[in-house]
């Protein structure tokens, strides 16, 4: 077994007196698609926020490719190869789709203020390469036709896809997706399955996704981790997790569990 690409070790987070995450462990192997599910308030988004550096854990450690990222700022963690998207659309509304993608290249480009202001050659070449790469990234998600649309003119589902492309263009090792399928219609959901698999297979990116659309989780995830009230209550392949009694209890309650197993 190879070393995990992302390793969350015994992480706890409290806000005030409320323990949102309580000794959570998570090991994600390179090339894996990991599902992170659980009822509302289970701490899933907090988990992503801790990994991406928005919140610091009270205790515990997080390793990305063997390097501890606890205590680093989100932009530093992004540079180390962690990308993410958010529960609500965070597309830059004042830019076109193409420019949004070029912004995703921020940490892979380096032109400074002087080079840009004086339009120096090195900067121009970098900028041309960035535009070319942004167009390829748009093509990858099948949205080339939208390059020059303002970010605000896209449908909600399209915005989500562009946000994913904007993260991917930064060549991350791991991408965290917070409910990426929200707002997708049922027939686009199948395309979305394919997109997630292509991201893993063609870009070699490891994915961790929070998702409430259980069908998507069951279809694409290799492993699923279930959180409930800040604790990790189950982990394993989707089918095993689906039949785990603790998971059913967390979602449906005890009484229903009895009925579920009776039927």
């Amino acid at each position: 077994m190879t070393a995990p690409l992302l390793s969350v070790r015994n992480v706890s987070v409290s806000f005030g007196g409320v323990k949102v995450l309580d000794g959570v462990n998570l090991d994600v192997q390179p090339g894996e698609i990991r599902g992170l599910i659980g009822p509302n308030g289970a701490g899933k988004t907090t988990m992503l926020n801790v990994i991406s550096g928005i919140h610091a854990p009270n205790i515990g450690d997080i390793l990305l490719d063997g390097v501890s990222i606890v205590g680093r700022k989100p932009n530093e963690i992004a540079r180390l190869g962690l990308g993410r998207t958010f529960q609500t659309s965070q597309l830059f509304r004042g830019m076109t789709v193409l420019e949004n993608l070029m912004t995703g290249l921020h940490h892979r480009t380096s032109a400074g203020l002087v080079a840009a202001a004086f339009n120096l050659r090195g900067y121009r070449e970098e900028e041309e390469a960035a535009e070319e790469e942004a167009r390829l990234a748009l093509e990858f998600v099948g949205m080339s036709a939208f390059a020059d649309r303002p970010g605000s003119a896209l449908s909600f589902g399209q915005q989500r896809v562009i946000e994913i492309a904007r993260t991917l263009i930064g060549a991350p090792k791991v991408v965290l997706l917070d409910e990426p399928a929200v707002g997708l219609s049922l027939n686009r959901l199948a395309e979305f399955d394919t997109l997630l698999r292509r991201i893993r297979d063609e870009k070699g990116v490891t994915l961790i996704l929070i998702e409430h659309v259980i069908r998507l989780v069951m279809d694409v995830c290799d492993q699923v981790t279930v959180l409930s009230s800040g604790r990790q209550i189950a982990e394993g392949p989707p089918d095993a997790v689906r039949n785990d009694s603790q998971v059913i209890e967390a979602y449906l309650g005890k009484e229903l569990r009895a009925r579920h197993s009776a039927s």
Binding site: A117, R124, L136
Partner: protein
């Protein structure tokens, strides 16, 4: 390029500005010079407010610091204008960067209040540190000379201002359509997403404060030379309102909008100068009208109605090709693994 596109209109404006001294009187030259100085101020403020989204109120103070530093270095230290002026601009830049340090941790209204406090503090220093600043009465600066160039002081200063405006306009325009400008807009539109893409919030906010400080400092030095006089009331809260008005009327997040806004506001104020009392009312009405009916400013209307005013924040190599099809023809096999 379309006939009435931005490039052509700016060329005509620049040419008109270049030959203006030969056919206008001293008063109109003074007004034109004032407009040019305000163009610098509103470009700097627009980068901070319009592009980076930082609701700061320190621009008038930095304008004042540029003017006071340029003036006092001449009067108190005896430096020539040519040394005092760039030094004043650098001092204003340094102050801009310095106030950004505490301001970086604040957002929205908190940033507004803290920078407002800084502006009031600056006023207080101008007024009360009499042994250095000459207090409320202000002080006269020595008249500058352009010898051996064969131009009068007015024309010389006008051309100096015009050259600086053209250069600083082009530099700002280049900067905002680079990765720097995109980082500014990213910070404005979504701090959390900007960070997740590797944009260092503190660095880019500080950079925007520094740039606006530099533009305000250059404007301050030129303004002290234009008036030959520096006093606190030129750099007070009304000055700040004036600059904000220019940015809003011209259009937030647009360099050319800053130019149009400065021109429109100064022209309106000068036109109304003869009817005292009406000036403030008309100024208020203009602002209200823009906020209600043209929230995107003059540039918003131009972009909607006239071709050739778009301001992409990247340098497109395919500006004239129709969007889409060109990219689609690339075979899938060329996609990076």
């Amino acid at each position: 390029m379309t006939l009435f596109g931005r490039r052509n209109v700016l060329m005509v404006l620049a040419l008109t500005a270049a030959i203006a001294p030969s056919f206008v009187n001293d008063y109109y030259l003074f007004v034109a010079n004032t407009i040019l100085i305000y163009v610098l101020l509103s470009i700097g403020l627009n980068i901070l407010l319009g592009y980076t989204g930082q609701l700061a109120f320190a621009n008038a103070a930095m304008f004042g610091i540029g003017a006071y530093a340029t003036g006092l270095l001449q009067v108190r230290v005896g430096w020539p204008f040519w040394l005092a002026f760039p030094s004043g601009a650098l001092i204003a830049t340094a102050v801009g960067l310095a106030i950004s340090l505490p301001a970086l941790r604040l957002r929205g209204l908190y940033l507004a209040v803290s920078t407002l406090a800084f502006a009031q503090f600056t006023q207080w220093v101008f007024l009360n540190w009499e042994s250095v600043t000459y207090g409320a009465g202000g002080f006269k600066t020595p008249p500058i000379s352009f010898a051996p160039l064969p131009v009068s002081k007015q024309a010389g200063l006008y051309y100096l201002t015009l050259i600086l405006v053209v250069v600083l306009y082009v530099l700002a325009q280049n900067a905002v359509r680079s990765r720097i400008g995109r980082a500014f807009i990213a910070v404005r539109d979504s701090e959390i997403a900007a960070q997740s893409l590797g944009v260092d919030l503190l660095r880019y906010k500080a950079l925007a404060f520094g740039i606006s400080g530099f533009y305000a400092g250059v404007a301050g030095g030129l303004y002290s030379a234009l008036l030959n006089f520096v006093s606190p009331e030129g750099y007070d809260l009304f000055q700040m309102v004036l600059q904000k008005a220019m940015v809003v009327v011209g259009g937030l997040g647009s360099i050319v909008g800053s130019l149009l806004g400065a021109g429109a506001i100064i022209t309106a104020l000068e036109a109304l100068r003869t009817v005292k009392g009406l000036q403030e009312i008309a100024f208020g009405a203009i602002l209200l009208g823009f906020i209600l009916f043209m929230p995107n400013g003059i540039i918003g209307a131009l972009k909607a109605k006239v071709r050739g005013w778009e301001e992409p924040v990247h340098r497109s190599r395919r500006r004239n090709s129709p969007p889409g099809p060109a990219a689609v023809t690339t075979p899938r096999s060329e996609v990076r693994p």
